[in-house]
Every structure is written in structure tokens, then in C-alpha cells.
């Protein structure tokens, strides 16, 4: 089904991804729906194990080839389903139309190549007819854009601090002016003052270049400051989504979202005890029937254990919870691959 001119740069429908080893099947993503509008930034919020990184890798089709499988679903990038694309086609998209920035700047850069060479490599790959001069100019312009002196293009990664390395990585990701930038916890490893610098820079660049962005983070503060839209992920599915206003100012929320907000020590109010969510995220090799959050939910009802809840919609705000929606959604969370 071909889409013509569309408002959304990325649309994911019912994505299911597993990691299959000899011992077990890990259900990492279980029916994910996600939409990113052109020029907008979507914050994908969740804790470790929710499946955020798997989602990002699936968009770029960079899952580990032996164990990672996309079982079903569609990923529409600018109207085309990229799951169906060949590896060759994907190579021309990666780094060019969709770029990714990873969490740890220490391991994202090749220690034996200069920073300039690494940026040039990205540029050259997607612009094979550019002359050496032009490439050099582009490298200099890119470094300038992230606040690094072009004279440093001959330096090696170890000569830069953590914050500067992350800027270089961002520079590389933006060097071909991609339409979509995926940033996977880009500032988690950085000091808070450096994080502020990097976030400001990302915001400016995004505004200037009109890049759409998928910002993956567990930090609600970063989401509030940088994102237009938000999706909250738990155990492989989106349990709440909406604009930033819906999530931060709305009056209805998924119990997990409420729990997340309550877990954060509030800078303004000192309370005696925090109200964490009890328990842990379920084992992805053995997901519960029904709502994935039910085992930990204090509002749990009988119906929650039977089938996954449908989506309650109020304008742009969507919540997947029986507290709000009547009808069950898709059947049991996860696909049973071990059925006899």
C-alpha cells in the first residue's frame, strides 16, 4: 500500500521483534505503534529493558543478524515501508536520510582515525561525486556547527573530552543532513552541565535544519525540555502517547506513567519518602497474559489479567489501560513461539 505525500516522517504499525537463541525467545517489542511528524521531536521514554533501543535498531534494520528477527509490522519512512527494503537500499538510507547517535561516545568513535577522517568518511559515502576540497569544506562546516574549531579535525578521539566526543558523534550524524535523527540516550553518560550544552546544541541544530528526531531517554526532564510529542514504553509496547502537554499537564494517565513521575525526587518539594513502583519489569522471555503492567499495578482488575487492553483516545492523547478503555485490544501480549 503506497503512501503519497505524508505528514509523518515515520510511522510504525504493530511492530513485533524478538531475539531468538537456542535457549530462549526474548520478546523485545510486542506490537508497537509509533508516529513522528515531520520536523517534530518524539521522546520515547522507558526504563532498561523496555525495548527502546531494539526499536531504534529495527528502524535502521541493524538488529543482530543471527538472533534478531522482525516478526511482523510495518515501518513507514516518508511513506515507504522500509522493512521490505533490501540491504543495499538500507545502506543508502543509513547515515544519509536516517542517522543515529548512540549513548556512549567513548565507543562510538574509532580511536585510530582522526575526527576529520571519520566525518569525511560519512560524507563521502553518500556523496560519491564530491571532490576532496568539497569534502574538506563540509567537514569544517560540520565541526563549526557543533561548536568545535575546524582546526581540530586532525585530532584523534582520545584528545577530546566526553562532551566534545559526543558533539563529534552528533556532527557525524548530521553531516549529511538527515531527515530523521535517532538519538539513543545521547547525554546519559555526560555531566549535567555538559549535558545542558549538548541538549541546547541539539535543539538549535534541529530547529535550523528542520530535522525530525526520535529522542530515546529515561529522563523526563530531558523530554520536557526537548520533545514535542511523547510515547511511554513498557515491556515492548507503548502504553501511553500524546503531545508533551498531554503527558505533563493532562489529567488522565497510565498508572505506570504516574509511577514514573512519582519515582523522581522532586527538586522543588522535599517529601519524606519516594513512592516507587514496586517490583520489576516482567521477564521478556515469559511475558504475562493480558496487560504487561498488571502484575505491578495497584489498580489491577480481573479483566487486566485476561487480555491486553485496547487504546483509549482523547484527541492526541492515547492510553492503553482498562481504567479508560472498554474493549480489549490485540490478543495475548507476545507471540508464543514455543507452542507445540
Amino acid at each position: 500500500m503506497a503512501h503519497t505525500e505524508t505528514q509523518n516522517i515515520l510511522e510504525i504499525r504493530d511492530l513485533k521483534v524478538i531475539y531468538k537463541t537456542d535457549l530462549e525467545v526474548v520478546e523485545a517489542v510486542n506490537g508497537l505503534d509509533l508516529t513522528i511528524g515531520k520536523g517534530k521531536t518524539l521522546g520515547l521514554v522507558g526504563e532498561t529493558g523496555a525495548g527502546k533501543t531494539t526499536t531504534a535498531l529495527s528502524i535502521l534494520k541493524l538488529l543482530p543478524s543471527i538472533t534478531g528477527r522482525i516478526l511482523q509490522g510495518e515501518i513507514y519512512f516518508d511513506g515507504e515501508d522500509i522493512i521490505k527494503k533490501s540491504e543495499n537500499d538500507m545502506q543508502s538510507i543509513r547515515g544519509n536520510r536516517i542517522s543515529m547517535v548512540f549513548q556512549d561516545p567513548m565507543t562510538s568513535l574509532n580511536p585510530v582515525l582522526t575526527v576529520g577522517d571519520q566525518i569525511a568518511e560519512a560524507v563521502q559515502l553518500h556523496n560519491p561525486d564530491m571532490s576532496k576540497e568539497q569534502i574538506k569544506e563540509r567537514v569544517a562546516a560540520t565541526l563549526n556547527m557543533v561548536g568545535i574549531m575546524p582546526s581540530r579535525s586532525g585530532d584523534y578521539p582520545h584528545q577530546f573530552s566526553g562532551g566534545m566526543k559526543q558533539r563529534v558523534v552528533i556532527a557525524m550524524a548530521l553531516s549529511c543532513e538527515p531527515e530523521l535523527l535517532i538519538a539513543d540516550e545521547p547525554t546519559t553518560a555526560l555531566d549535567v552541565t555538559i549535558q545542558a550544552q549538548v541538549l541546547t546544541m541539539i535543539r538549535e541544530l534541529r530547529d535550523r535544519l528542520g530535522t525530525s528526531m526520535l529522542m530515546i531517554t529515561h529522563d523526563l526532564g530531558i523530554v520536557a525540555q526537548t520533545c514535542d510529542d511523547v510515547a511511554v514504553m513498557y515491556s515492548g509496547i507503548i502504553i501511553e502517547a500524546g503531545t508533551a502537554e498531554d503527558i505533563f499537564l493532562g489529567d488522565k494517565h497510565h498508572p505506570y506513567t504516574v509511577g514514573l513521575f512519582n519515582s523522581i525526587p522532586n527538586l522543588d518539594v522535599k517529601s519524606e519518602r519516594l513512592s516507587p513502583i514496586t517490583g520489576l519489569m516482567p521477564d521478556p522471555t515469559n511475558l504475562p497474559m493480558g496487560c504487561v503492567f498488571a502484575p505491578r499495578c495497584e489498580h489491577r482488575m480481573e479483566v487486566c489479567l485476561e487480555a491486553r487492553p485496547g487504546v483509549y483516545e482523547e484527541g492526541t492523547h492515547k492510553i492503553r489501560c482498562y481504567l479508560f478503555s472498554e474493549a480489549p485490544g490485540n490478543s495475548k501480549a507476545g507471540v508464543n513461539l514455543n507452542a507445540e
Partner: protein, 325 residues
């Protein structure tokens, strides 16, 4: 536990310094003249970013690193120059909890063995059985189900591994614990669980904590007093409420301003950025170490180290602009 005179600090440092000698002869000023007091049953939060020396400070106080100069007084005794054997009995009173739940416990030992280790070293109980039973009691105290007693670390998640470390630290009935970023490596909801645990234990046992962290919201929650460190020096110290209500040092203000708050009404406010990077703690020049990045700096700032002055009751700041000296 609270048999000490509440006005006398449980632990005190005087001009404590720890320098590392690097190849080529230069010195890394990790901790450079810290004066602090910690009182029984209270928590001192130590905040700062990478390179400020807060972790080194914690380890030096416990004599896991040898101090270069200055004094450490524990319960009035000067332990600065205690040898390893003289420190042994003192170690029962002062313990440490580590940041990384993956490397803080021996992967080849079971949970119960890890928690019992210290008790065996100090031969606290007559028999193996008695020791293990005490360890099981500690598991109860930190909320670790007893069925994990014979499990190995890799079978447990980060939050539980941290609890093993906490149980171990409690095993000798210490009076004081250095908590070195104990929740930084954990997920948000697990962080909250463990923070609550630490606070509950403190109430129940009357422990003093030195809580080292880079996360200002966490430190506010758990601390009575807070010390802000930058490149080995303390730049500001006040009670928790006072520091957040009335931060005075430019670095403290910048630190607070840099935190992205989960409030979208503040969204379009620009982060007030500090320019530049942290300067090197190697071979430091005289003068305030924050001067090169400070928006308010004047030439005098780079000439002499600013004095640590009490600007209001129990609120100390080291800044030339604030104090004039």
C-alpha cells in the same frame, strides 16, 4: 548508637589532601584541602561532576587511599596515619557502598557468602552457621528474599545486587557509611526503592552517611547538609534546604540551572550554560579553579584561592565575588 555527644562530629577532616603523582612528575590534585564534619545519624551530601574528587574523597576518608596531607579524625581519634593493622578494628565502624552493582560483588561467591565475608574476617561469631544466620537476618533487613541466599550475582538484577552490597556494609554494625553514587547505575523506579531503603536503615540504625552523587535531585532528598565540590575543592556548603533555596556560588547556581526539569512550562527558557569544559586537575594554577568558566570572574579571582567564608548561619561559600576575599 546515639551515645555520642551530638555536638561533636563523628568524623572530621582538616585540610585533607590527596594528590596523585603522574608519570613525568606532575601532580593530580584530586582532593585539595577539604574541611568537613559529619555528625552521627546525619547525612552529608557531596555533589559535583566528573573530576571534582568526590569519589576520591570518600575513599581517602576510609583510608582505602593514603592521604597526602591533612587529618582525618574519627570519633576524636586521628586515624590519618594508622597502619593497616591499626585500621582493622576501625573498619568495623566505617564502611562503603559502591556505585557499580556489577563489579561491587565477587561473581564467584553466593549471596550469603558475600554478605558474611566481613563477619568471617573479623571472626565475629563462633560458628559458620551462626554467621550465615546473621547474614540471613541482614538480607531481611535490606529486603532481599531469603530464597536468594544461594544464588549467584549474575542471577540477580542491578537493584538487588546493590542491596547485597548494602547488607554487606551493614554486617559489622558500622556507625558511618560512605555511599558512593549508590543509585546512579539503577533505573529510575529501582533508584527510588533503594533510596527509600537507605533512608529507612538510617532511621532504624542511627547511621551517618556521606552521600556522594552527581544527581542534585537525589542529594536533596536524602541529605541534611550538602557540600558542592569542584576540582578538588569545596566551593559551597549549606543545609540542604538552604542550598537549594539560596545558592550563592556561581558554579552551584549553574549546576542547578543545568538540570532539565520535568516541567514543560519552563521549556523555552534557555539553559543557562556554563561555557567551556572542566579544566585539568593536574598542576593547578593558583586562584579560583572555576574562574576560567565563570561569567562573573574578575582578575583577582585568578590570583589567590578565595577564602571559605560563612555568609549566613551554617552557609559557607568560597567565592571572591560573593565574599570580597
Amino acid at each position: 548508637m546515639l551515645n555520642e555527644n551530638p555536638n561533636k562530629p563523628l568524623l572530621e577532616t582538616i585540610e585533607l589532601r590527596k594528590l596523585f603523582k603522574l608519570k613525568g612528575g606532575s601532580n593530580l590534585h584530586a582532593v585539595d584541602g577539604i574541611n568537613m564534619k559529619i555528625y552521627a545519624g546525619k547525612t552529608l551530601g557531596v555533589v559535583g561532576e566528573s573530576g571534582c574528587g568526590k569519589s576520591t574523597l570518600g575513599r581517602t576518608i576510609l583510608k582505602l587511599l593514603e592521604p597526602t596531607s591533612g587529618q582525618i579524625l574519627f570519633e576524636g581519634n586521628d586515624i590519618t596515619n594508622y597502619s593497616i593493622s591499626k585500621m582493622r578494628p576501625v573498619r568495623k565502624d566505617m564502611q562503603i557502598i559502591f556505585q557499580d552493582p556489577y563489579s561491587c560483588i565477587d561473581p564467584r561467591k553466593s549471596v550469603i557468602e558475600i554478605i558474611s565475608e566481613y563477619m568471617f574476617i573479623h571472626k565475629l561469631y563462633k560458628s559458620r552457621v551462626e554467621t550465615f544466620n546473621k547474614a540471613a537476618g541482614l538480607m531481611d533487613m535490606v529486603g532481599l528474599a531469603r530464597r536468594y541466599a544461594n544464588s549467584y550475582p549474575h542471577e540477580l538484577d542491578g537493584g538487588r545486587r546493590q542491596r547485597i552490597g548494602i547488607a554487606r556494609a551493614l554486617s559489622l554494625n558500622p556507625k558511618f557509611i560512605v555511599c558512593d553514587e549508590p543509585v546512579s547505575a539503577l533505573d529510575v523506579s529501582v533508584q527510588a526503592q533503594n533510596l527509600n531503603l537507605l533512608m529507612d536503615i538510617q532511621d532504624e540504625l542511627g547511621l551517618a552517611y556521606m552521600f556522594v552523587t552527581h544527581d542534585l535531585s537525589v542529594v536533596k532528598h536524602i541529605s541534611d547538609d550538602i557540600m558542592v565540590m569542584y576540582l578538588g575543592k569545596c566551593v559551597e556548603r549549606a543545609t540542604s534546604d538552604e542550598l537549594f533555596a539560596n545558592p550563592q556560588h556561581p558554579y552551584t547556581k549553574a549546576l542547578l540551572a543545568a538540570i532539565p526539569k520535568p516541567d514543560i512550562r519552563m521549556r523555552n527558557k534557555e539553559f543557562q550554560l556554563i561555557k567551556g569544559e572542566v579544566s585539568s586537575p593536574v598542576n593547578v594554577k593558583p586562584g579560583c579553579r572555576f574562574a576560567s568558566r565563570c561569567d562573573y570572574a574578575v582578575p583577582e579571582c585568578s590570583q589567590r584561592d578565595p577564602d571559605f567564608v560563612e555568609t549566613s548561619p551554617e552557609h559557607f561559600v568560597a567565592c571572591y565575588i560573593v565574599n570580597g576575599r
